[in-house]
C-alpha cells in the first residue's frame, strides 16, 4: 500500500513540474450570466478553455476575467447546461444558461467528485430534485422506482415507513446483501430512511463497475450517490411546501359474509350441520377486512432557507412528515433538521459542513405472517364474520374452532414502538495548494440512537393473560466515524485534459445494544407508560447486551484523461482492508477501466445536422460485496448464556471466508438528435460474480447452514432511456421520458456439486415454494402442476412426472417441478409532462412484466380446510359430482387440495399509474405584489390505477423482503403471504417561495 501511495505522489509531483502555461495578449472581459428568464446566476464557474484558470460569477451573476481575445470561456453550473463561448475579442459577454433537464451537458455527481454527463464513460442514472418534487416520497429509494433504468424497486409492504428492496442490475448475491451502498454527502451508509428527500439535490446511481469500483468492496450492488442542497450566493430564498393526503388500499378483497360462512361451515364436508348456528349468524356479521382497513393519511411540512454571499453559503431546512397507516396503530413520523454551510476562508481554503438531525417514530404492526404468528392481514381475511369483536368479559373475541383471536388482538393488544434519532455530520476543508492541486480533508460521523419497545397487554388476549403481559425494550447506539483524505489534481494543456485523484479513507463502526424484558404486569396497570409498566411488572427477564464492531481502511486512486473532449479515458483503483475477514484474507483490490469516444465531435460528423451528440463508451471493472456479512462471520462462535455464563456452541465458519467479487463489462451509447429534442441512452452489461456467499444449509451440523464462498452468479441486461421533447413551442409543451430495463439473472453455480436447494420461501403448513437451482435465476417457484378439479370427486388434480393427473395422495415429491420465476423480464417507467400556460400535468407510469407471484393469501382464503373465513371465490367450489369448477371441494384438516402448486401461482405483471399530478403556478407579477417569489398548488393521485391480473391486494409484494435471513430475502422473491397492501393516495399540496 505504501509503495503504491508513494508512487502516486511522485507521479503527481512530476505532472506539476512539467506543467506551465503562459498566456499572451490578455484582454479584460466582463459580462453577466443569467438563466433563460433573465435572472442573474451567482456562483457560475467560468473556466478559460484549455487552462485551469477561471472565476465565478458574483451575487448578481456578473463576472470579470482576463483572457486572450481569441480564447473561449466555458460556463458551468449544477443543474444547468454547460456552455462554451468564444470571446472573439469582445469585452462584454452576456450568457444565458439553459436548465440541464436530461441534457447530456449536465453535471453529474459521481464517486468522490463530479463529471459532466458528456464526459461520462461509465453507466450512471440520475434522478434530480425535480423527479422528487410534489410526490409523497418518504424514503428516497422510492424516487428511483421507474425513474432510473436498471434499478428495480419493490416495496416490501405498504406499511408506513416500510423498507424497500432495491436491486441495481439484478441480484449478484445469494446470501450476502443485494442492496446498494448509499453515499450521502460523501458518507457511505446502508440506510437512508432518516433522510428527508426534499433536501436532496441529486441522486446518481453508479451502475457499472467502471463508475462504482472507486467504492471497492461495498460497490458490487451499485452505489447510490446523493448530494444535498446547497445555498446559492446572493439568492436568498425561503421555501415552504406542504401536502396532505388520504390513503386507502389499492384494492379490497371480498370474503364470505355470515350467512355464506355458515353455509360453508355447515357443509357436511367441513364441520357439518349446526357448526355455526343461526343465533351466531344473527349476533355477528362483521366484515373483518373493512373493520381492519381504514382511511389513513399522510402529511408533510417543509421549510427551506437558502442563500448566502460569495464567500458563505447556507441551506437550512426543517421538515416534518407524518403518516397514519390504513391499519391501526401503524404510523410513521419523522422530523428532520438540516444545516449545510460552506465558507471560503481565503483564496486557498474553503470549509464546509453538512449536518442532519432526525427523529423517526413508528408504530409497527405485524404483517407478512400467517394468523398463527399474529399477521394482521391474514387475520383480517381469515377471521369468521361470526367472531365477535370482544367477549362479554372484555377479552378479544376468538374463532372458537381455531382458537385464533380476531385481528383486534394484533391491533390493540400488541404495541411495537420504535424511536430512532440520527445525527449525521461531516466537516471538511478544501485546500488549494497550487492552481491545479487541491487537498480535501473530510471527517464525518453517523450516530444513531435507537429504542424499540414492545408491550403485550396482560388482559386482552389469551396469550397475554397467560404471560401476564410482557414488555421488552432494545436500546442501541451506533457510532460510525469516517476520515477521508484526498488529493485532486486537474490540469489541461493544449487539447489534453487530465485529472487525477488519490486518497485514503477509514471508517469504523461501534454498535452496542442492551435488551431488557419483564412480564406479569398487574392488569390495572396496563394503561400506564411503557417505563412505568416495566417497573411495575413483577417478573424481570435476564438483561443482556450485544456489541458489534467493524472497520474498513482503504486507498483509492483515479485518473481521467480526455483529448479535446473527444477521446475519454478513466481508470480507478481501490484497495480495501476489511475487519470482517481474517487477517490473511482481509485485503482486496478492485480496478476498473473505461473509455468513451464522442463521435459527434469528429470532423466527419459536423455535417450530420440531425445528430447533436453521439458518444459510445465501454467499461470494464471489478468490485466487491461485503454487505450483509456479519462482522465476525469468519469466526466460529459460542454464545454466552447471560443467565449463568454457560457456553453454547453457536456457529461454524470457514476461516477463509471472503468478499464476493463481481466483474462487469458495460457498453453504452448516448445520443441526442433533432436539435436536442430527442435523446437516447442504451447500455448493455455482463456482470459475473464469483465467490458468491451461499448460506449452505448443511445436513447434519450444529447450525442449520454455514456461509461459504461457493457460488457464482451472472446478470446480463440491457437498459434503454429515451427522452423526448414532443412539443416545445407555444403555450403547450409535452415531454416524455421512457426507460426500460431487461435483466437476466442466472445462478451459474451453487457449489460443491449442489445443483438444487428447495429450502426457501416456506409456506406455513405447506412446503417450501422456492428453489435455488443451478442454471436458473433467483426466485424460481417449485411445486406441483395443478391440472384442475376432478368433476367426480371434487379433488384437486396434479400432474405426475409420467404425465398422469392424480390427486395429491397419489403424487410423489419428485413430481414437483419448476413452475415459474418471480423475476420480471423487464421493468419500465414512463413520465409524460404536459404544460399549458400556468398548468403542469405529470403522468408517471411504472410497471413490471413477466414475473410470477405465489399468492399465499389464496392458500388461506381458498384452502377450504378449516374454520378460517374464505374469499367469495369459494362460492363456486365443487359441491356435487358433476360440478365443473376450478375450486376444489372442502376437505377438513387436509391440505391435499391446497399444496404449493400452479393453482396459486399468478401472473404478477402490472402497469401502474404511479403518479398523476396537476400543478398550477400562480403568475409571478401577482405574487411579487404580495411579496412572494413563486407559488403553486397541486393535486395528485398515487397508485390511482393498477392494471394487473393479480388477484391479491396488490402485485407489489415481497413477503420475505423483511426476513432476517439474507438468503431468504434474496431467493424467496414474489411471495405474497399477507403483506400490508400498497396505498392509493389522494393529496393536495402547496409550494410557496418568498423572495
Amino acid at each position: 500500500m505504501h509503495v503504491m501511495k508513494q508512487k502516486f505522489l511522485a507521479f503527481l509531483a512530476l505532472l506539476m513540474a512539467v506543467t506551465s502555461l503562459s498566456i499572451a495578449q490578455n484582454i479584460s472581459v466582463h459580462g453577466t450570466v443569467s438563466d433563460t428568464l433573465g435572472n442573474g446566476l451567482p456562483g457560475v464557474t467560468i473556466r478559460l478553455v484549455g487552462t485551469n484558470s477561471g472565476t465565478t460569477t458574483d451575487v448578481k451573476g456578473a463576472f470579470n476575467i482576463n483572457a486572450p481575445g481569441n480564447a473561449s470561456l466555458e460556463f458551468s453550473f449544477i443543474g444547468y447546461k454547460t456552455q462554451t463561448v468564444a470571446i472573439g475579442g469582445r469585452e462584454n459577454i452576456v450568457v444565458h444558461l439553459g436548465s440541464a433537464g436530461t441534457d447530456l451537458n449536465q453535471v453529474v455527481v459521481v464517486g468522490y467528485g463530479t463529471q459532466k454527463k458528456k464526459d461520462l464513460t461509465g453507466a450512471v442514472s440520475v434522478v434530480t430534485a425535480a423527479d422528487i418534487a410534489n410526490r409523497p416520497i418518504v424514503n428516497a429509494g422510492e424516487a428511483l422506482q421507474g425513474k432510473a433504468a436498471g434499478v428495480q424497486v419493490t416495496s416490501n409492504s405498504g406499511k408506513p415507513g416500510a423498507g424497500l428492496s432495491i436491486r441495481v442490475r439484478g441480484s449478484s448475491s445469494i446470501s450476502a446483501g443485494n442492496d446498494p451502498l448509499y453515499v450521502v454527502d460523501g458518507i457511505p451508509m446502508t440506510d437512508i430512511s432518516s433522510y428527508n428527500p426534499a433536501d436532496f439535490e441529486s441522486i446518481s446511481v453508479l451502475k457499472d463497475a467502471a463508475s462504482s469500483a472507486i467504492y471497492g468492496t461495498r460497490a458490487a450492488n451499485g452505489v447510490v450517490v446523493i448530494t444535498t442542497k446547497k445555498g446559492t450566493p446572493g439568492k436568498s430564498k425561503v421555501e415552504f411546501s406542504t401536502y396532505y393526503g388520504t390513503t386507502t388500499p389499492t384494492k379490497m378483497l371480498h370474503v364470505l359474509d355470515a350467512q355464506q360462512y355458515q353455509a360453508y361451515m355447515n357443509d357436511t364436508k367441513a364441520y357439518g350441520p349446526g357448526a355455526i348456528t343461526d343465533s351466531m349468524v344473527a349476533a355477528n356479521n362483521i366484515n373483518w377486512p373493512d373493520e381492519v382497513f381504514r382511511h389513513g393519511n399522510q402529511q408533510n411540512y417543509h421549510v427551506g432557507v437558502s442563500g448566502g454571499t460569495e464567500k458563505t453559503q447556507h441551506y437550512i431546512s426543517l421538515d416534518y412528515n407524518a403518516q397514519t397507516g390504513m391499519i391501526r396503530p401503524s404510523k410513521f413520523d419523522r422530523l428532520t433538521g438540516r444545516v449545510n454551510l460552506s465558507h471560503q476562508v481565503n483564496k486557498w481554503l474553503t470549509v464546509s459542513t453538512a449536518t442532519i438531525l432526525s427523529r423517526t417514530h413508528d408504530n409497527d404492526i405485524t404483517d407478512n405472517q400467517g394468523v398463527a404468528k399474529g399477521g394482521v392481514v391474514l387475520s383480517a381475511l381469515g377471521t369468521p364474520p361470526t367472531t365477535p369483536r370482544y367477549t362479554p368479559e372484555g377479552y378479544i373475541g376468538k374463532n372458537t374452532y381455531s382458537g385464533w383471536e380476531n385481528p383486534l388482538g394484533a391491533i390493540e393488544a400488541n404495541k411495537t414502538r420504535n424511536l430512532t434519532d440520527r445525527l449525521v455530520s461531516n466537516i471538511g476543508a478544501d485546500i488549494k495548494f497550487y492552481k491545479d492541486l487541491t487537498f480535501s480533508s473530510r471527517f464525518g460521523i453517523d450516530y444513531t440512537n435507537f429504542r424499540g419497545t414492545f408491550f403485550l397487554d396482560p388482559f386482552l388476549t389469551e396469550y397475554g393473560r397467560n404471560q401476564g403481559g410482557s414488555l421488552t425494550a432494545n436500546t442501541s447506539t451506533q457510532l460510525v466515524w469516517l476520515s477521508e483524505q484526498t488529493l485532486n489534481y486537474k490540469h489541461a494543456w493544449g487539447k489534453n485534459n487530465l485529472s487525477a485523484l488519490a486518497g485514503w479513507t477509514a471508517q469504523e463502526s461501534h454498535w452496542q445494544q442492551t435488551s431488557i424484558s419483564a412480564s406479569r404486569l398487574p392488569v390495572q396497570d396496563r394503561f400506564k407508560t411503557w417505563d412505568a409498566m416495566f417497573m411495575l411488572a413483577t417478573v424481570k427477564g435476564t438483561p443482556y447486551t450485544s456489541v458489534d464492531d467493524w472497520a474498513l481502511v482503504s486507498y483509492l486512486g483515479r485518473i481521467n484523461y480526455d483529448y479535446d473532449g473527444k477521446y475519454l479515458f478513466q481508470a480507478n483503483l481501490r484497495s480495501d482492508n476489511s475487519s470482517k475477514f481474517s487477517a490473511a484474507h482481509r485485503t482486496a483490490t478492485f480496478p476498473s477501466f473505461s473509455a468513451g469516444w464522442r463521435i459527434s465531435q469528429e470532423a466527419f460528423m459536423q455535417d450530420i445536422r440531425f445528430i447533436n451528440d453521439l458518444k459510445v463508451r465501454a467499461g470494464w471493472g471489478q468490485n466487491g460485496n461485503q454487505e450483509g456479512i456479519g462482522s465476525y462471520a469468519y469466526l466460529s462462535l459460542n454464545n454466552i448464556n447471560a443467565n449463568n455464563g454457560s457456553t453454547s456452541y453457536a456457529t461454524v465458519a470457514p476461516n477463509d471466508l471472503r468478499w464476493e467479487t463481481s466483474t462487469q463489462t458495460n457498453f453504452g451509447v448516448d445520443a441526442t438528435f433533432l436539435d436536442n429534442r430527442l435523446s437516447f441512452t442504451a447500455d448493455v452489461y455482463w456482470k459475473k460474480t464469483k465467490n458468491v456467499l451461499v448460506n449452505v444449509p448443511l445436513s447434519g451440523e450444529i447450525v442449520g447452514s454455514v456461509l461459504l464462498n461457493m457460488g457464482s452468479m451472472q446478470n446480463i441486461g440491457q437498459e434503454f432511456v429515451v427522452s423526448s421533447k414532443n412539443i416545445v413551442n407555444g403555450d403547450f409543451k409535452w415531454n416524455t421520458d421512457l426507460n426500460i430495463s431487461f435483466n437476466k439473472n442466472k445462478v451459474l453455480n451453487i457449489g460443491n456439486g449442489i445443483s438444487f436447494m428447495n429450502s426457501f420461501g416456506g409456506i406455513y403448513e405447506r412446503t417450501n415454494s422456492i428453489a435455488l437451482v443451478q442454471g436458473y435465476g433467483l426466485g424460481e417457484f417449485y411445486g406441483y402442476v395443478a391440472t384442475g378439479v376432478d368433476p367426480e370427486t371434487g379433488m384437486q388434480l396434479y400432474k405426475t412426472k409420467e404425465g398422469k393427473t392424480v390427486p395429491y395422495a397419489a403424487t410423489k415429491p419428485s413430481d414437483r417441478q419448476l413452475i415459474g420465476s418471480a423475476q420480471p423480464k423487464f421493468v419500465y417507467g414512463m413520465t409524460n409532462t404536459f404544460s399549458y400556460k400556468n398548468f403542469d400535468l405529470t403522468v408517471f407510469l411504472q410497471g413490471s412484466q413477466g414475473n410470477k407471484i405465489f399468492n399465499g393469501l389464496r392458500i388461506e382464503t381458498e384452502g377450504l380446510k378449516d374454520s378460517r373465513n374464505q374469499s367469495t371465490a369459494v362460492l363456486h367450489r365443487w359441491q356435487n359430482p358433476g360440478d365443473r369448477t376450478d375450486i376444489p371441494r372442502t376437505l377438513l384438516n387436509n391440505d391435499d387440495n391446497s399444496q404449493v402448486s400452479t393453482r396459486f401461482l399468478e401472473d404478477g405483471s402490472y402497469l401502474r399509474f404511479k403518479t398523476i399530478t396537476l400543478n398550477y403556478h400562480f403568475n409571478s407579477g401577482l405574487l411579487n405584489k404580495i411579496g412572494l417569489g413563486a407559488a403553486s398548488v397541486y393535486v395528485s393521485a398515487q397508485n390511482l390505477i393498477t392494471i394487473t391480473g393479480y388477484k391479491g391486494f396488490d402485485p407489489e409484494v415481497n413477503t420475505y423482503g423483511t426476513n432476517s435471513d439474507n438468503t431468504q430475502r434474496n431467493t424467496s422473491l414474489g411471495i405474497d403471504y399477507g403483506a400490508y397492501p400498497q396505498a392509493k393516495v389522494f393529496l393536495a399540496g402547496l409550494n410557496i417561495t418568498l423572495k
Binding site: K5, L9, Y271, G272, A275, E393, T400, S402, G403, I431, F433, F439, E462, R465, N466, G468, S483, Q485, W504, S519, G541, V547, D548, D549, A551, V553, N577, A583, S631, Y632, L635, S636, N638, N641, N643, N644, G645, S646, T647, Y649, A650, P654, D656, V696, P697, L698, S699, G700, E701, I702, V706, L708, I754, N758, T767, A809, K812, P813, N894, D895
Partner: protein
C-alpha cells in the same frame, strides 16, 4: 510557505494514519466467545461452562427431545391421534407421511445439532491441558457428552435406520474442508449401534455412581445403564443377557413413588423413581428454560385470576385414542387413566371424526401449559422393571416376569397378572407399558423393539369398530427427509419412499 508547511503536515498525517490502519481492523466479538483451535485454550472454567451449556442445550431442545418424542412415540402408535390441525402430525398419525414431512425433517436436523455440539464438547474438553481441570472431572465431562451423543444416535437409528455417523467437529480451516467433513454418507445400522455402545461404555467408566447427584438430570451411571439396557434390547440382534445385567444394576438403586400422581404434580421432582429426568424450572426461575410441549396439548387460561381449563381450537395435539381409553377402562385402571387423560366439553370449538366434542379427551399428564415447569422423564424405574420382565420372559421365567408387572400394578391399585404362555406374558407387559407410559414417548419404539408394529397398527379400530390403518411394512423406518438428501448428495433414501 505556509501552505507548504501545511502540506507537509498533512502528508505526514496521511502516512501516520495509513500505517496505524491495521490496529483498527482487528475486531473481535465482545458478547460472544471465539472458539479456538488451540488445545491450551480450554481452561477448567471453560470446560464447566461447556458441559453446563450442553446440558442446557439438550433440555431446551423441547421440540425434538420432548414434543416430537411424544408425537413419534404415541401418535405414530395406537396411543394417540394427531389432534389439532397440523398436517405434518396428521400424516404421521395416518401413515400417509412422505419424505417432505416437516416433523421428520426437523427431527433429523435437530438431532444432528445436538450430536454436533456433543462432538465439539468432546474434542474441546478432551484436549484441555489446564492442570486445574482434575483428570476425573475431565473424564466425567467427556463421558457426559459421549452419553448424550449416544442417546441421540439411538433416537436417530430407531427412527431413520441408516444415518451418517459423525463423531468429530467439522474441519473449518476452509470452505472446502468444512463441506467435505460435514457431508458424510450413511453408515450401516450395525455400525451405528456399535458406536452407541462404544460411547456408552466410555461414559459408564467415567461418570459417577448412581445417587452421586441430587438432580436426576445430571448424568450418573443410572441413565447410562438404562440406555445400555434399552440398546441391547433394541439392536437388530438383541443381547438379553446384557439387558438383564444392566436392569439388575439399576433396580436396587431406585424405588417407586407411593402415588402415581406424585410423578406429575411438580412437587416430587428428582424422586427416587426417576432415572433420567429433564428438570424444568420454567421461564422465570433457575436456568429459565421451560418445557412448552404441554401447551400444545391443552390450555389453561387465567380468567380474572382463576386458572381455568379451556378446551378447543388447535390445542389438542396427542388426542388420546379410543383404543388407549378402552385399554385403561377394560383394566379398571382409573388411577392412570385420570392421571393421563381429562375429558372436557368442547362443543362448538371443532369437530372430530374420532370423538364427540361434547366429551373429548385431552392428554393432561403434564399439568402446566403456561409456566413451563413440567419435568419430562426419559427413564423411570417401571420402564426398567418391565424391560427386566421382558428379559425374564425370554429366559422362560414367566412367574418372575409377572411378579415385576404386579409390582408396577400394585402402586396404581391394580391386581396381579399371570401368564400361561410367553406370548401372553409379552402381551401383558406391552399393555402394562402402554398404561404406565402413555404420552411419555415410548409406545412406537416398544412396538418396533418387539417387532409388532405392523400387526398391531393394522388391527387398531376407531370408536365405531372400523379398522383405522393400513400400514405397509416399509413404514417402520422413516424416510430420510428429502430436504436433507437435497443438501447432502451422499444420502440414500430409505427403500420404498
Amino acid at each position: 510557505m505556509k501552505r507548504i508547511a501545511l502540506y507537509s503536515v498533512i502528508t505526514a498525517g496521511i502516512a501516520i494514519a495509513g500505517s496505524s490502519c491495521t490496529k483498527v481492523l482487528d475486531k473481535y466479538p465482545q458478547t460472544q466467545t471465539v472458539r479456538s483451535d488451540s488445545a491450551s485454550a480450554i481452561s477448567a472454567t471453560d470446560a464447566e461452562n461447556i458441559i453446563l451449556g450442553l446440558y442446557q442445550d439438550y433440555k431446551s431442545q423441547v421440540e425434538f427431545n420432548v414434543l416430537d418424542r411424544i408425537t413419534n412415540g404415541d401418535v405414530l402408535s395406537d396411543n394417540a391421534y394427531a389432534g389439532g390441525d397440523n398436517t405434518a402430525n396428521i400424516t404421521l398419525d395416518n401413515f400417509t407421511f412422505n419424505s417432505l414431512n416437516g416433523n421428520l425433517n426437523r427431527d433429523y436436523a435437530d438431532a444432528y445439532v445436538l450430536i454436533g455440539k456433543a462432538n465439539i464438547a468432546i474434542q474441546d474438553v478432551g484436549r484441555s491441558t489446564d492442570p486445574s481441570l482434575v483428570a476425573a472431572r475431565k473424564a466425567e465431562i467427556v463421558g457426559d457428552a459421549k452419553f448424550l451423543r449416544a442417546f441421540t444416535y439411538f433416537d436417530l437409528v430407531r427412527l431413520f435406520g441408516r444415518v451418517p455417523l459423525k463423531l468429530k467437529p467439522s474441519n473449518n480451516s476452509s470452505a472446502d474442508s468444512l463441506l467435505a467433513s460435514s457431508l458424510v454418507a450413511q453408515s450401516s445400522v450395525d455400525s451405528i449401534y456399535q458406536q452407541i455402545l462404544q460411547d456408552l461404555w466410555d461414559a459408564k467408566a467415567s461418570v459417577p455412581r448412581i445417587g452421586a447427584y441430587s438432580s436426576k438430570y445430571t448424568i450418573t451411571q443410572g441413565p447410562v445403564f438404562a440406555t445400555l439396557a434399552k440398546v441391547y434390547a433394541t439392536m437388530p440382534t438383541p443381547n438379553w443377557d446384557s439387558v438383564g445385567y444392566y436392569c439388575d444394576q439399576l433396580i436396587p438403586n431406585y424405588s417407586l413413588l407411593t402415588d402415581y400422581t406424585f410423578l406429575w404434580d411438580n412437587a416430587h421432582k428428582n424422586s427416587s423413581e426417576a432415572i433420567w429426568e429433564f428438570t424444568y424450572d420454567g421461564w422465570n426461575e433457575g436456568d429459565k428454560i421451560g418445557n412448552w410441549a404441554p401447551s400444545q396439548f391443552w390450555a389453561l387460561e387465567n380468567r380474572n385470576g382463576v386458572p381455568t381449563m379451556v378446551s378447543g381450537g388447535w390445542k389438542r395435539f396427542e388426542t388420546p385414542s379410543n383404543d388407549l381409553v378402552s385399554l385403561f377402562r377394560a383394566d379398571g385402571d382409573s388411577v392412570r387413566l385420570h392421571a393421563s387423560i381429562t375429558f372436557l366439553d368442547s362443543t362448538n370449538t371443532f369437530t372430530d371424526t374420532y370423538w364427540s366434542t361434547a366429551h373429548y379427551p385431552y392428554a393432561t399428564k403434564y399439568n402446566d401449559p403456561n409456566n413451563g415447569i413440567n419435568d419430562f422423564y426419559l427413564y423411570r424405574l417401571p420402564d426398567i422393571l418391565l424391560l427386566k420382565a421382558e428379559q425374564l420372559v425370554k429366559k422362560g421365567d414367566l412367574n418372575g416376569a409377572m411378579a415385576l408387572v404386579t409390582q408396577v400394578r400394585a402402586r396404581v391399585k391394580l391386581g396381579p397378572k399371570t401368564a400361561a404362555s410367553p406370548d401372553q406374558a409379552e402381551q401383558i407387559i406391552a399393555n402394562e407399558r402402554r398404561q404406565e407410559f402413555a404420552f411419555e414417548g415410548h409406545r412406537w419404539f416398544d412396538l418396533l423393539r418387539t417387532g409388532k408394529a405392523i400387526q398391531t397398527m393394522n388391527a387398531v379400530k376407531d370408536g365405531k369398530g372400523n379398522i383405522l390403518y393400513n400400514v405397509a411394512d416399509y413404514r417402520v423406518i422413516m424416510p430420510i427427509p428429502q430436504q436433507q438428501i437435497d443438501l447432502n448428495p451422499k444420502l440414500v433414501q430409505t427403500d420404498n419412499y
